[in-house]
């Protein structure tokens, strides 16, 4: 476990972490070093196939590493499984909205009691779904509503860590803007540690406190960029700093 006063606040610490699937092209991640403190909104960007999603799966415990050390902070955040939003909504088609939402609390690793229906309704309203939708099945929901439900499901067991794997890649621009703001607001309101994998540089600049840029596989860290984000989302979205961060990210990716 992580020791020392500085590391006490870290939820993840990667020391020379390598992930190798044994393919001829070599490892996916190579000697990656990073520390992720609690409460941070971190984005991971990089070209397609550079191992962003592999890194996220590694942090979620879904992917073992071949060498190096992945240290998890000994806090409540790490005892509850992290919330995970996949690229697709990944809902059970035979379950209603309410039953899908309840799923994480029914499974083995959950230490939280199944929330009451009113608590679940409150959560659904937080992500922009109404009480009228609770008896519907996923096939009756639009793509945006399915994504909102997926986000609510990731939060239902009150995780301290939220992992997002390009969750807004398949939605239209307007909905993406709404969902981005929703995710950032939920991060702030719930005091989460959020890690977002995205290929959208504007999204990374807009939402994050810090951005990690990965190079093409075997991925290593190219740059670790603090964003200096301000709390007011609308002001921040319109600010020159966001454009400046995008420029820096583009430069970092192009000079690889």
């Amino acid at each position: 476990m992580i020791s020392g006063s500085k590391s006490q606040r870290a939820v993840f610490e990667l020391r020379d972490v390598t992930v190798d699937f044994g393919s001829v092209s070599g490892p996916v991640l190579q000697c990656l070093n990073a520390e992720i403190p609690a409460g941070q909104f971190l984005s991971i960007v990089g070209p397609s196939g550079c191992g962003k999603s592999t890194l996220l799966r590694l942090l979620a415990g879904l992917q073992p590493h071949s060498s190096g050390q992945l240290l998890r902070g000994d806090s409540a955040d790490n005892r509850v499984p992290p919330g995970f939003v996949f690229q697709q909504p990944a809902l059970l088609p035979w379950r209603t909205v309410l039953a899908n939402l309840r799923l994480p609390c029914e499974l083995g690793g959950s230490r939280t009691a199944v929330p009451s229906e009113s608590e679940l309704l409150q959560l659904l309203q937080q992500v922009g779904l109404s009480g009228e939708d609770i008896r519907k099945r996923p096939a009756e929901l639009s793509g945006g509503m399915q994504m909102r439900l997926s986000l609510a499901r990731a939060l239902v067991h009150r995780p301290g860590i939220l992992l997002l794997d390009e969750p807004f890649a398949a939605v239209d621009d307007l909905l993406r803007m709404k969902l981005q703001e929703l995710v950032r607001n939920l991060h702030d309101a719930r005091g989460l540690t959020t890690i977002l994998v995205t290929h959208n540089l504007q999204e990374a600049a807009l939402l994050s406190d810090r951005i990690l840029v990965l190079q093409p596989a075997p991925a290593g860290l190219v740059c670790d960029l603090p964003s200096g984000r301000v709390a007011d989302h609308t002001t921040w979205r319109m600010s020159a700093e966001v454009i400046e961060i995008q420029h820096q990210l583009t430069k970092a990716l192009l000079t690889q």
Binding site: L62, Q88, A90, L92, P93, E106, G109, A139, S142
Partner: protein, 269 residues
């Protein structure tokens, strides 16, 4: 959001679906009658559809009883094959080693000539309902095993990740994810197997040949008596029974999938 079709829309689309095949049937009947009339084919060689219908009406009581018996034997066999097939699929889905060891024997069920196996079963179990149902069961088992095994193995990898993330036990993953996920595959397997079960029952009855048996025995009797119009009527009844069972199972499957999954067999929502 998807718009649900109204009851009226569904009714008219079902009518349209029926109208096509019905039209083809009428045209084929007309062509058949025309052929027989124009070429003056002897009824001993090829009776016309009118003669077949008249013969069918004449023996309607024995046709009805035989159809009932065949249907019961086929559905009984199908029910047993559903249970055995699902259990076998569960075993197959547990590991690749088990699958590799047992799959060739499952293929045997499909490749063994039913004409050869039916007499063996009848010799072992006697000339009765049990033998007929067992032939139907053997013939309908393979599609259920393969479909359900495929369903149990083809679980969405993202959903598997979700269950692993929440540290679901093997049992929870089976009951909450793999079994419900395999249900559309099982339903599809039952649809295919239903036709095989009817064929199996008729072949079984053909060999049982007792007077108490169903359509298969009737076919055999009529062929030896050389009453061709009645033989045709019996064969057509057997075909209609297969079509009816297949259609009923399809409608039931659609209902189950629509109600529990919000999806349909054609893949449309």
């Amino acid at each position: 959001m998807n718009q649900q079709p109204s009851v009226r829309q569904r009714g008219s689309s079902a009518l349209l679906q029926l109208a096509g095949p019905l039209l083809v049937l009428i045209l084929l009947g007309l062509a058949w009658q025309l052929l027989v009339t124009l070429l003056q084919v002897s009824p001993v060689l090829l009776p016309g559809p009118r003669a077949v219908m008249t013969a069918g009406w004449k023996i309607r009581d024995s046709l009805l009883v035989a159809t009932g018996r065949t249907a019961v034997a086929a559905l009984g066999g199908l029910l047993v094959s559903c249970c055995c097939g699902t259990v076998t699929a569960f075993v197959f889905a547990q590991s690749q080693i088990i699958r590799r060891a047992l799959y060739p024997y499952a293929v045997l069920l499909q490749t063994v000539p039913v004409i050869a196996i039916a007499p063996i079963i009848i010799v072992s179990l006697g000339r009765g309902f049990l033998s007929v149902a067992l032939v139907a069961c053997i013939l309908s088992l393979f599609p259920i095993i393969t479909s359900t095994t495929t369903g149990l193995l083809q679980t969405d990898p993202l959903l598997q990740d979700l269950f692993r993330l929440h540290r679901a036990t093997r049992w929870q993953t089976l009951i909450r994810l793999r079994v419900p996920g395999a249900l559309p595959y099982l339903i599809s397997g039952i649809r295919i197997a239903s036709g095989s079960a009817i064929v199996g029952a008729i072949v079984g009855e053909f060999f049982v040949g007792s007077s108490e048996s169903g359509l298969g025995a009737l076919i055999q009797r009529k062929s030896t008596q050389l009453v061709l119009s009645e033989l045709y009527a019996t064969v057509i009844t057997a075909t209609l029974l297969g079509t009816l069972v297949f259609s009923l199972i399809t409608v039931l499957s659609e209902q189950v999938l629509r109600r529990w999954f919000g999806m349909s067999l054609s893949g449309r929502n």
